[in-house]
Symmetry: C2
Subunit: 291 residues, 2 copies
């Protein structure tokens, strides 16, 4: 599908993508470009790429596809480093969880003869690093592609085909809408999980021990996503500020209403609220997204 692919940033997503591309023979050659010497050595020893380099500019030379798998906040610095070494006609894509700000970071920095096709595979685990990746990470998971208004059709189609070959279902969206939808389904839940687990870290030592001991009663469900990569998530919140603050506002209003109902002992309000949420779980199960 591609002659030579450079994956910049070989963490969980980058390394999983390399594994999937290898498994399905989607690239003649895979180059790992990662500024961490440590990561490059792991990639070599795990044989995840044909070549490794810590020099990003060198890493993109000769590639017809370059995919940025770095935290959202690192996109512009990476673009500055590679812009002068990109081949004419190269497709540049990314896997960032935020799209509007990433496009703002990348589009003005890339050469005119390159094609920017932003994408976001909705997949991941709470583990980080190349050793935790696996080829099946994207199977039956959504990948949202957010072409620019002036994107040419062919490069978009190639990115769609790439993710389909990795097992993903594709959805095409504009960047603004992506950021709002993910703000609700992903960024707000992560923020809330980080908060509730963070609240537990500030408890007195003996109480904290009991929280861990009895975590299966509800708390545990929040700790998995609150164990996600802190750099990645810092950048998500810094770069999707408006959407996150907007949905957080709605959440806070609803929480305040429940708090008031508890204080006023308004059992009917509590019951009606709790009853509605069961239906959403059923819909998710019906949509094949849980069981």
């Amino acid at each position: 599908m591609f002659k030579q692919v450079t994956i910049i940033g070989f963490g969980l997503i980058g390394s999983s993508l390399a594994r999937a591309m290898k498994q399905h023979a989607l690239a003649g050659k895979i180059i790992c470009a990662d500024m961490s010497r440590d990561v490059c050595e792991k990639v070599l020893s795990l044989q995840l790429a044909d070549e490794v380099t810590t020099d990003l500019a060198k890493g993109v030379k000769g590639s017809d596809l370059v995919i940025l798998c770095v935290p959202v906040g690192a996109m512009s610095a990476v673009a500055d480093k590679i812009a002068g070494s990109l081949e004419p006609g190269v497709i540049v894509s990314d896997v960032g969880s935020v799209k509007k700000e990433v496009i703002k970071s990348l589009a003005p920095r890339l050469p005119k003869k390159s094609h920017l096709v932003p994408a976001h595979p909705i997949a991941g685990t709470e583990h980080s690093g190349p050793e935790h990746g696996f080829a099946e990470l994207f199977h039956h998971r959504w990948c949202i592609v957010t072409p620019l208004e002036d994107s040419e059709l062919q490069p978009v189609e190639k990115i769609v085909k790439l993710w389909e070959a990795c097992g993903s279902n594709i959805e095409i969206m504009n960047a603004d809408h992506h950021d709002l939808v993910l703000g609700i389904t992903s960024h707000l839940p992560h923020l809330i999980a980080y908060t509730i687990v963070g609240t537990a870290t500030t408890l007195e030592e003996d109480l904290k021990g009991e929280v861990i001991k009895f975590s299966a009663s509800g708390f545990r469900d929040f700790t998995r996503i609150a164990a996600s990569d802190p750099v990645m998530w810092r950048d998500v919140f810094l770069n999707n500020k408006d959407a996150v603050l907007e949905v957080l506002q709605r959440f806070t209003e609803d929480l305040t209403a429940l708090q008031k109902a508890i204080r006023k002992q308004d059992g009917d309000y509590l019951y009606q609220t709790f009853k509605k949420t069961r239906d959403i779980r059923r819909a998710i199960i019906q949509a094949g997204q849980a069981n």
Copy 2:
């Protein structure tokens, strides 16, 4: 272990307990007392009890153990119904998720010659009803027993042995402390999950569809516990008001601090907060409560 046991309320917990008692031959006879004719018929057809009755007073006659498996808000009404029919020396226990208010409801209503031993098996699923119970529900799960100050030793020991026989690990605590610990580990997480899933139910239809479609990105983790029994949870929040409002206050302060950090683009604060929460997940895994 017991000659005759009456389980009042044959939902998920009551029916699972009946199954476990049968499997381990802990009772000579098990009586299902449930005011719902529907539930009684299901219990008969599933052969979960030796006798069924919708008359609670009749149901407790001749039993040396009576366990109330009804929502916390129904405890006092049940106590009023059965008090006059309890045998002298009977042990009365319950499985409520709140202990201080349950003791307040039960203790003054029960006859002097009965022994109240409150307990709380920390186990459950998001499904309700006798058809969803199973004997292994309590395996390797905690059961917290909260004896009263003047509880005699022997009845407490019998309840401990009963739950151990069902596969549970036992923790002894006073009721106040139980309500605080569960307020943090269980009640607050459920309230937050109900809120965030509730916020999603108020979205416009097309956005709601997308939330369901892309729920695997974080939102899904909240929907399981937000699908829990609404009556049970209404009663938990009405009856553990003080502890829940206190931990909710802490949570809200922490959320407000994160909100401010996002607004002010304070990446360092976000990073430091997100970094700490990973350790709690590790501690839970080390404690064998997740993997």
